[in-house]
């Protein structure tokens, strides 16, 4: 890379550019890349964005710096909020989530963007690998205007043809009407972002498709680390690098401690 940055920084900048001013960006616990991304976007071009952390609505574009991570519940951070959007009623206003953006991880992700936080194995009563559970992701992904699947590693163990259990429905069994048939009003997953590449979903089938390769990553590397046949367009660009300005804000106002650089 000509501009030196880590894969996680690249991911955060890619995401940040995709957010539009005025959107509500909700991040759960333990997702440092999305957390950095929403704060970067907010500071770069989103003075009317609302950052939502565990129900705290924050608009902090005017602040020089806030510690990262643990944004969600540390009172030293959420004291900057303007309200608890739900006042104890986290999910009482989901009808307004059309302009809300959300982020999920997963221990498995399948080719239609369904994800699994429950566990791996055949028998739910005795899982081979017990996951953390669904948190609020089923409800959030049902209603938000769009969401992003963001993973810190890209392996064939994670990208599987079929999740052992589905905790969030992406595009179900495939097809542009998959969500509509289930009565899920939200817009579904837009991109899946990993340290290797960015993927989206094809228009008709809603199958996962390579969108761009991060600088220095080969197509073969992605293919061999994905447990299903990824759609590969004829022309696969390289993920655009951060600008100096973006990296400066990211490193001085968002991630001063270098969490995304692995420092």
């Amino acid at each position: 890379m000509t501009v030196e940055c880590s894969a996680q920084e690249l991911m955060a900048v890619f995401l940040a550019r995709d957010f539009v001013d005025g959107e509500h960006l909700q991040v759960g616990v333990g997702l440092p890349v999305p957390e950095a991304a929403v704060r970067l976007a907010h500071m770069m071009h989103g003075p009317n964005m609302e950052l939502v952390f565990l129900g705290a609505r924050m608009n902090v574009a005017h602040l020089d710096y806030l510690p990262l991570p643990a944004f969600g519940w540390d009172r030293r951070v959420v004291r900057w909020s303007e309200s608890f959007s739900d006042r104890g009623h986290r999910f009482d206003q989901v009808k307004d989530w059309g302009r809300r953006v959300f982020f999920i991880g997963g221990i498995q992700v399948d080719l239609y963007g369904n994800t699994n936080l429950i566990g791996i194995g055949d028998d739910h009563r005795r899982l081979k690998f017990r996951g953390p559970g669904s948190v609020g992701t089923p409800t959030l992904t049902t209603h938000v205007g769009r969401y992003y699947i963001v993973l810190n590693s890209h392996t064939a163990r994670t990208f599987v043809p079929r999740c052992d259990f589905i905790s969030t429905v992406g595009w179900g069994g495939g097809g542009a009407d998959a969500r509509e048939k289930l009565g899920l009003p939200g817009g579904g997953p837009k991109y899946c972002v990993t340290p290797l590449c960015v993927m989206d979903f094809s228009e008709d089938e809603k199958r996962m498709r390579l969108r761009s390769l991060h600088p220095g990553v080969s197509l073969e590397e992605v293919k061999s680390n994905t447990g299903f046949d990824l759609l590969i367009p004829d022309d696969v660009p390289v993920t655009e690098l951060p600008t100096e300005a973006e990296l400066t804000v990211l490193r001085t106002r968002v991630d001063r401690e270098g969490l995304l650089r692995g420092d």
Binding site: D21, P47, R79, S83, F84, S85, K95, W97
Partner: protein
């Protein structure tokens, strides 16, 4: 939408009033946002479906603005068992009444906020409500087979509220709590407009985020004394004798009511014009303590 600066959500009262269109479903909070109510009467908006009670509801009916009422209570407080214009219109069959009760209303509003087509409720089972309101369906619950009422989602186009304070970004504080219905009405509505006594700084809001009762209302209108003749918690008490004057005029109907509407709703073009007509001495006499 891109902006260098954060955008204000304070709008002019006339801009706010022009948001109301014929045929809309309008929800009225408590205390009533009377300044906005008067604007609706002044603009002669027609065929509204109104979720509201008491004097505010009655004034809208008296002004000829209402086609349908989502009603759980049409009393006017102590001494006014049923508000007069409502009673007259109801008995003449001039308005449709979606008969309900508080728990059924809040269930329908909650369903809307939660993105659900319905919520079940027990209060009303065995009463005439499902019979006089066919939208309320008797169901058996899918777990134990208990009889319940399925209440369809109720979705106001606009909710109008009166609160104590807001910052420029729609972070609203009700002084002494938001009462029992405002938050339900807000969560269910497509759009919420809040008239407030006072605009406060964003720093003030941030000093106590939990005190914010509505985070990011769609629009805020500066309306000091805007609830008159109602109370506004933290600012003034009800003007009981003015309310009595209205109920007396509405009870008489005809010319007397028309004169009242003309004097207090149609002639004053702005809220300040109305307050001028009420007079500062009268307003200052309504202090809480």
């Amino acid at each position: 939408m891109t902006a260098e600066q954060r955008q204000t959500r304070i709008i002019d009262e006339i801009v706010a009033a022009n948001c109301l269109e014929d045929g809309m479903t309008v929800a009225i909070g408590e205390p009533s946002p009377m300044a906005m109510i008067r604007h609706i009467v002044r603009r002669r908006v027609r065929d509204l479906t109104v979720i509201g009670t008491g004097l505010a509801l009655d004034l809208l009916i008296a002004g000829g603005c209402v086609r349908k009422v989502i009603s759980y209570y049409a009393g006017g407080g102590y001494g006014v068992p049923v508000v007069p214009a409502f009673r007259r219109a109801a008995q003449a069959g001039e308005i449709d009444i979606w008969e309900c009760e508080e728990g059924i209303l809040t269930s329908g509003l909650e369903a809307a906020g939660k993105g659900l087509p319905f919520l079940p409720w027990r209060g009303g089972v065995g009463t005439s409500l499902p019979e006089v309101n066919p939208d309320l369906k008797l169901i058996e619950d899918p777990i134990n087979g208990e009889p319940l009422i399925a209440v369809p989602a109720i979705k106001p186009d606009i909710t109008l509220l009166h609160a104590a304070e807001s910052d420029a970004y729609g972070n609203v504080r009700h002084c002494g709590g938001p009462g029992w219905i405002d938050l339900f009405l807000h969560r269910a509505a497509t759009r919420t407009i809040v008239q407030v006594e006072k605009i406060i700084s964003n720093e003030d809001i941030r000093s106590d985020p939990w005190a914010t009762t509505i985070g990011g209302a769609d629009a805020v209108v500066r309306m000091p004394y805007g609830a008159h003749p109602f109370y506004s918690r933290g600012y003034y008490v009800q003007d009981a004798s003015f309310a009595q004057d209205y109920f007396s005029a509405a009870g008489s109907g005809g010319d007397e009511l028309d004169q009242f509407l003309t004097r207090y709703c149609r002639e004053p073009g702005t809220h300040a014009d109305y307050l001028e007509r009420i007079g500062i001495k009268r307003l200052l006499g309504l202090y809480e303590y």
